[in-house]
Amino acid sequence: MGSTHTYIFVIITIKALFVLGGEKFDDVEASCNATNSDRVEYEYNTDVVNSEHIITYKGYFSRSTRENYVSAALKNAGVSNWTLLQRNNPAKEYPSDFDVIVLEDGRRRALEALRDHPAVRRVTAQRQVQRTIKYVREDDCGPAGCVYTGWRNHRARDLNSLRRPRENGYTSRKLLRTVPRQITSVLKADLLWSLGVTGEGIRVAVFDTGLARHHPHFGRVRERTDWTGEHTLDDALGHGTFVAGVIASRADCLGFAPDADLHIFRVFTDNQVSYTSWFLDAFNYAIMRKIDILNLSIGGPDFMDHPFVDKVWELSANKVIIVSAIGNDGPLYGTLNNPADQMDVIGVGGIGFDDRIAKFSSRGMTTWELPYGYGRMKPDIVTYGSGVRGSSVTGGCRSLSGTSVASPVVAGAIALLASGVPRQHLTPAAVKQALCITARRLAGPNMFEQGHGKLDLISAYQFLREYEPQASLSPPYIDLTECQYMWPYCTQPLYFSAQPTIANVTVINGLGVSGQVKEVSWHPHLPHGVLLAVAVQHSEFLWPWSGWLALSFTVLEKGADFDGVVEGHVNVTIESHGDIGEKTMRNQTLMLPIRARVIPVPVRSRRLLWDQFHSLRYPGGYFPRDDLRAKHDPLDWHADHVHTNFRDMYRRLREHGFYLEVMGSPLTCIDPSLYGALLLVDPEDEYFPEEMAALKKAVDAGMSLVVFADWYNASLLRHVKFYDENTRQWWIPETGGSNVPALNDLLSMYQVALGDRVFEGSFKLGGHPMYYASGTHIHSFPEHGVLITAQLTDQGHQIMTGEKPSTGGGTPGSGPTVDVPILGLLQTDGETRDYTNDTIDKLPKSGRLVVYGDSSCLEGGAARPCHWLLLAALQYALVGHLPSSLKEAAVPLQNRVRDVHIIPSELPQRAEGGRLHMYSRVLSSDGSGPRAAPSCDRPEPAPAQPVHAPPAARTLAPHHPPTDPKSIGAPEIEGTEPAPRAWRGAGAAPSRYYAAAEPPPASLYSRAGTLLAIAATVYCLTALWKRCGRKLRRRRLMSLAT
């Protein structure tokens, strides 16, 4: 318990995917941020929480009894300043045998008194157990300097909370501590070894940091190549050695395929720098070498790196099975890494040995398809990636965590089963189908967290052995009612007039490398299925081995009042070129079952519209984060969707009964009379003139507008440019946190403008602690509006002048603060007042406007979420009621200076020579202003071909029974026990190459030898010197005497 492991790594490039360290708790705090950072530190420690003590009683007592005992004991001791911590969990109703007490003073006396109480067994210090993977920035953020100081509140880490069921519905609670085990035994690889399947003849490429020449764990390193120009092939970091070890180690910590041929590609320097061009050349070599399986424990957010993405497709087309890590940027959504998010690649997420999704594992849908479409399901599968043991650089074993670990587990597993199945079954599609169809689904996580589920090696082996070329769909069914797995679909039912709900299905085509979707037909099940309309779009070609199929669901008008579940199925016919020389095309028709829940159309004041169309992000241009202090991860790459980084906000709104629809098209394509409010959160794009006119009309007609803006300052934009090592060019932000000049154009019709100064700081609003992370401020506001100010520091000034930012995170007294107007509420045509007590027809016809200067607090992972503020703003926007919390905070009218009452500032100007037009959906790419507003074409719904069908089973999920190990002819081996060298002992032929190789002169021995030799030399010299010296001295003495 007391041991502390600390591994420190330096991460520089965005391409590297490393999480280090052993197993970890899920409930711990990822301090700072869980995205790419400069230093990663792993830590396991316990410390005593000073003021807190645990009182253990001699029996189980109810809460009041326990409280009486404690108060009696403490009254006798004369201690009055104490509190018992209340546990907010279902267990609080039941008798308990312990309490946690907080003692302010007189601690010793109080403890003695408590110990003397007859009902108390013992009193112990509260310990905080903490196992974390820490991301530490170079500028070493303190507790207040860290914006992401934790996902849950602090109490989530104490002993009570470990017994708390997790919020997203885990039913089984397991001990979180994990013992690192032999990963191969856990996945039952030893069963296959005992059948003589050891990965022989399979060429596995490891693209990583290299491997030492004579590492004692490896026998069949076929070749090692360097692509970095560093003129070394050895691994200085340990990442490449570990990854190669998990795949093919044959000693100590065993890998999956000990007899596989390893091809080591060194594509990362010792400083973890890597370039696309190195990868391109190395990939070309891998194609020529006819590599079977390629492991990429790397990733980055740039899915628009076309040369790289195209090359990965080319690899797949050449029958290279690519396995890649999904990323270590969890638990935030929208953090998937490329290339793992590509359709043809097997993207692997990480779980712990407790079968929970590892906290670091990236998740959420893919974000390539936004804003018009919807993301695909990724990762494909998950497997153990936390506390896995593998080879270390020095020749021993070590334990590491990360999706970098989960990826080689899958790559090694594929190498192993590939050597036991017919060669022609080994195509990227067949292997992916084998893994996905046989995967075990975990109870709890949704499909954007776990994909198809947990890897089942034995079942996949059996599946691949009996494989028939086929196409399959991922996910294999669409049940929009199934919670949790079909999150977020299951959280909001369909209704007439809603924006279409889109499901993006991946077609995995095992029939051939190139194919086509020939026909799609929609068969609603009578009687109610006909209420649903399905529009289908699909990729032109299914190449390489895969393609997409997008289904948009809408409810027809005749279903406007329907309440219930509708069913149906979509038939998809795939046509594909078969093997070489087959003149006929292969055909297969797949059935995709569909179920959805339909409700009557909700009232207007419950319907909100989320603007996705005007959100621009990285990749593409450099769109900076909304928080200027997030220097370690300066890019805004989480897609700003309600199902990615604004997921918490979405949940909160749904809990309060709001229906949130995503607008993926310009405002002109929407009927605004259906919606109570439009949410403009962190928009980066400009607006079409037609949109502005439409918005004005809509607000006049009663739709409200809620704006959460962010910082923008042209000179600050130039100041925060940086040189990107990966693309070897200077990056200047295309906008600030959001595009304030464009917003000002939009808001000018209400005499509202946002300013160009940038503020940050902590404050309290309506009793809620708030943090303003780099936001703008209100520059001008009509007199009759309600304005709320806060004491904030001028962050823009601090950054420009290079002053040290206040360490207290804006706490009072830590820097000069200004009274900044940050929130404005406005009735757009006349007096702003509270209409609570008025009848609905007295409420003005036109909508209301709410403007807040910072959007980071709505994002997932915010230190102090401001969802309450959004709810309060919505209350005002939708029903004209100004919540009391805001009313009190509002600046009284008489204190305000007329109109430009506010702090001195300028209106932000668009940056000179900006390149926003290159990424904008509104501006034309030649920089000549807005293009013509696009037409609002919606894909035509597929003609319905109703069928009579009995109601489907409760779950639509196809059931694939796990393969019994006995059925593949394996002798019985206790799978969970570590069985070192079982693959050799069980009769597999020892490899020829290994036998012929010279005994590996391990570098460890040679180094020890050198050290010993040096020690011996020194000893000899001193001994000689002593003897000679003595003689010399004696001689001198003698000469003196004579």
Binding site: W227, V513, S514, G581, A1013
Partner: protein
């Protein structure tokens, strides 16, 4: 702990005696050993041998630092230029290699480009099919850069390009390029040369020329942007 505590008073005396003897023995051995080691001859031998070991191991380390950037266990075949006769060989016994990757098109090692449909059982393109073309430079520009990979390979296989390819190959072998040292014939050279590579990218994350990106000449793709 408790056990030892109770047991000690009875056995202590004996314990100490045994221990004393043991120490005494050790001391004698130790003294003899030290005396032996301190003899000048022995010291010299130890010194000399460890010095040699040091020098040898340092030298070996130094030499391994200049290691090659490629280390392979796979035997290498020499590069062969296939003759036109081999290209022409079109009897039924021949087995072709082809570019397996194409979405619609394939190119075989005789230089034929064809539709996937027109691929024969032996892996060759059917030369009689309507769409089959030999040594076709469709979609290629005069700098030997093409839009479509298969046409790039086919164009590159044209015997009239032999001089150009020889130049390319000699340049590559001068560069000690890992990739090209393992090529065995002109077909592999063309397959590899036509792929996008480190020479195709601008700013690492975009193509120099997003359309004509498959090149087999020694000229690099021309950048579309004026920089």
């Amino acid at each position: 702990m408790l056990l030892i505590y109770y047991a000690c008073p009875y056995n202590c005396h004996l314990c100490f005696m045994v221990l004393n003897e043991y120490f005494f023995c050790c001391k004698m051995w130790y003294a003899a050993l030290v005396r032996f080691i301190r003899r000048r001859l022995v010291l010299g031998i130890i010194f000399a041998s460890s010095l040699t070991y040091c020098i040898v191991s340092f030298l070996r380390e130094g030499s391994s630092r200049n290691m090659m950037y490629q280390e392979t266990m796979i035997e290498r075949k020499p590069f062969v230029w296939r003759t036109l006769q081999e290209h022409k060989d079109s009897n039924d016994s021949v087995i072709c290699r082809n570019s397996v990757q194409g979405r619609l098109l394939l190119v075989d090692d005789r230089g034929y480009v064809c539709h996937r449909n027109d691929l024969m059982r032996n892996g060759c393109c059917d030369p009689l099919a309507d769409f089959s073309r030999r040594y076709s430079c469709e979609s290629c520009k005069d700098n030997n850069c093409c839009v479509i990979y298969e046409y790039c390979v086919s164009c590159c296989l044209d015997p009239s390009k032999r001089d150009l390819l020889e130049l390319v190959l000699s340049k590559l072998s001068a560069e000690e390029n890992v990739l090209f040292r393992t090529l065995t014939d002109d077909y592999e050279l063309c397959l590899t040369k036509c792929r996008t590579s480190s020479h195709s990218v601008l700013h690492e994350n975009s193509y120099k020329d997003p359309t004509h990106k498959h090149c087999f000449g020694h000229e690099l793709p021309r950048s579309r942007t004026p920089d």
